[in-house]
Symmetry: C2
Subunit: 420 residues, 2 copies
């Protein structure tokens, strides 16, 4: 079989290490030129394939590709764009396969979360039907850590490390000021449906007096009375109270504390600003001086404090995806399997996309303390290894040095427009 090209696309919210996965895909593909001629990357994710707007990564030097390992953001652009069901929009799938066929693309690596795994799965199925079978693999990426089957998701370890480190640092600040100033500090973190990121804040301390004193998980309905009692008790006992709140924190009736009413491209409610809501509850009921931080994109782009384990795993899933593809496996995703907690050992294996697509893994109840405000020893055992190790980017003049890609376009062959 002559060598085919590969198409790689980044999807959904980017992470501090998604480019490490790109690095794993491209470097591994380059070792198998007899099978994979070029790796094309979608300019702005899957949209790049639909609009025939692709980047030839072969035009980048080995040094630039290696530097992707420490570059945050999405090197080729990502997209919040979900392909609809085949019945609803068959034209999109036909167009995708047409582009793949025209550009001799026989491999599809889709680097994303739940929705992307669904798309990769569909591409694998429909490409056969349309007479141009494509080996389609999902490659996991999500700060939310909510993909099933895999022990954890690349991208999560680094945001977890950022949140744990930031919580510990800010708590030391607040503790030293509490006598005459701020008594309650609130850190808002991501995690729309699952409390994995909020839980990571719990790594900052492990004794009752340590911050964070309260974590508000999406999985635990907000109990205002219990919350206020705990805040009051903390300020009484420790002089201050540090709260990590998930953007997805909600009331018993399912309503988000920070419901904003707007929705994103996937129809998910767009959130923001739960911290001021929590602050107001504290102020109105207890009157304590408060401060709050909203980490927002800082948390998922903080490559400067990435977890070394996360970087290694992000690279590994990219590398293994290519190896699986070359072994003829399709409609699978490389998953991380934990071999042992201590010492932490893991390996990569593969799992069918059908088992992963469109499913969410919530924080298990056994990781949440009985009072609903903290993480258990089991939770800590799970989370801790994921933030192990530092993997600092190189610096020049005090700032991280990130590569500049040439991003040379692949010459369009179809020449027909496609509106997404």
């Amino acid at each position: 079989m002559p060598a085919m090209n590969a198409f790689y696309a980044q999807s959904g919210g980017v992470t501090a290490v998604i480019n490490a996965t790109a690095c794993g895909v491209i470097e591994t593909a380059r070792k198998h030129k007899n099978k994979i001629a070029n790796v094309y990357a979608g300019n702005n994710g899957i949209i790049g394939a639909l609009t025939e707007d692709m980047i030839n990564t072969n035009r980048e030097s080995a040094r630039t590709i290696a530097a992707l390992k420490h570059m945050p953001g999405g090197a080729f652009g990502s997209a919040r764009y979900k392909l609809k069901g085949i019945e609803e929009n068959r034209a999109e799938y036909e167009r995708l396969i047409q582009v793949f066929k025209e550009h001799d693309i026989g491999y599809f690596f889709y680097n994303g979360g739940n929705d992307s795994m669904d798309t990769a799965h569909k591409v694998s199925l429909i490409s056969k039907k349309l007479g141009h079978p494509v080996i389609a693999l999902g490659v996991p990426k999500t700060v939310d850590n909510d993909l099933p089957v895999t022990d954890n998701c690349p991208g999560f370890g680094s945001v977890a490390k950022y949140v744990a480190v930031s919580t510990r640092e800010a708590a030391m600040d607040v503790a030293s000021m509490a006598k005459t100033s701020t008594k309650v500090f609130i850190l808002e973190v991501m995690g729309r449906h699952a409390g994995w990121i909020a839980a990571a804040g719990g790594l900052a301390g492990d004794k009752p007096q340590d911050a964070p004193h309260i974590i508000l998980f999406p999985e635990v309905p907000f109990n205002k009375r219990a919350f206020l009692k705990r805040v009051k008790d903390c300020v009484h006992e420790y002089d201050y109270c540090v709260i990590v709140v998930s953007e997805g924190a909600r009331y018993k009736n399912g309503k988000f504390l920070a419901e904003a009413g707007t929705r994103d491209a996937f129809g998910h409610a767009q959130l923001g600003g739960v911290a001021p809501v929590v602050a107001q509850i504290v102020r109105d009921n207890l009157g304590f001086k408060y401060h709050y931080a909203i980490a927002d994109y800082l948390q998922r782009s903080a490559r400067h404090i990435a977890s070394a384990v996360d970087v290694e795993q992000a690279y590994a899933v990219g590398r293994e995806a290519v190896r699986y593809a070359l072994a003829g496996k399709t409609a699978v995703m490389p998953v991380i399997k934990r071999v042992s907690d201590s010492p932490y050992r893991w390996k990569i294996t593969d799992a069918p996309l059908a088992r992963i697509a469109n499913k969410e893994k919530m924080l298990p109840a056994r990781y949440i303390t009985k009072d609903g405000f903290g993480i258990t020893a089991a939770g800590r055992r799970y989370l801790e290894p994921l933030i192990y190790g530092e993997d600092y980017p190189p610096y020049i003049n005090g700032l991280p040095k990130y590569p500049t890609l040439k991003n040379v376009a692949v010459k369009p062959k179809l020449g027909t427009k496609f509106v997404v």
Copy 2:
């Protein structure tokens, strides 16, 4: 003259490197046991002296004291507590000197900002009058970088680095998502009156297309029309727009964009939440999808990404303060003098507190671009060296390892209560 004790207190909002200054003070004092017997630290700053609640730092090991160099927060507690004028509250000064006298304290090192320099100055004057002359030195500390005379303030370089790095990272995230998602990203940073911290965000990029595309300084009255035009132009030209906004951004009439109406212990308006205000202006007028982050305490406690220059200078001002004191200098503050920009060279010299107390150094107009939205080459030349170098703390299990102090109390001798 027999050896006297020294009193060291941290004042005001802490920084990522204020403990490096404490380290400089204590390590240097320990080299001169014949003159400085013990360094007592105020538990919660100056309040610790007033209430006779002091910590004997001599009870800490050399290793613990050395570790202060990489510990954020205030190791002994800080306080937002300003001594009033002598006429208004003579009792406070008398109490202070009484405690100093009782504990053989002949040296006072006050580590803070403008207000603290004023207090140190007053203590130097009044202690003579009250018959117990104390050598009183100010030691500079402020993330706001607003002390006059000194080229820059320890604490600023690290927050500047945090803001520059975070802006660069978040911008890469936004840039890669802009096609289908967030187009405008807003980062709110500290700086109540002076735009130094916001200006540091400008280091993240140096070409017109680089983020941040807009900086909103307290020094430049907010011009809504010009602002909206620039946002629109950026989204048009670059697909996205990154804004760094100072919490002190204000309208032409002086009103803060985020006026909250509450005031802190010093009578300063307490701010918070300018980012959502700016976001709303963007949404209401241009309709772009936005995200915002509020760095709040994360920025000034981020020891994990401290500037090596800042750590070195923070240590140096502590060390030199002790040297000046031992040389008999009083009512002075060690100041940083820039010798050259490139290569960056600096030295420490001393300046009288009278020249520093209660004065604020604003961002000079020549550091702000003509349109008011960016920093000039001169501004960059000034700011850049302050973020040079990384000085990472040690890590254990993925988290920075910060020292635990014994904080052994100095036995009270007066035994009388003093209510602050």
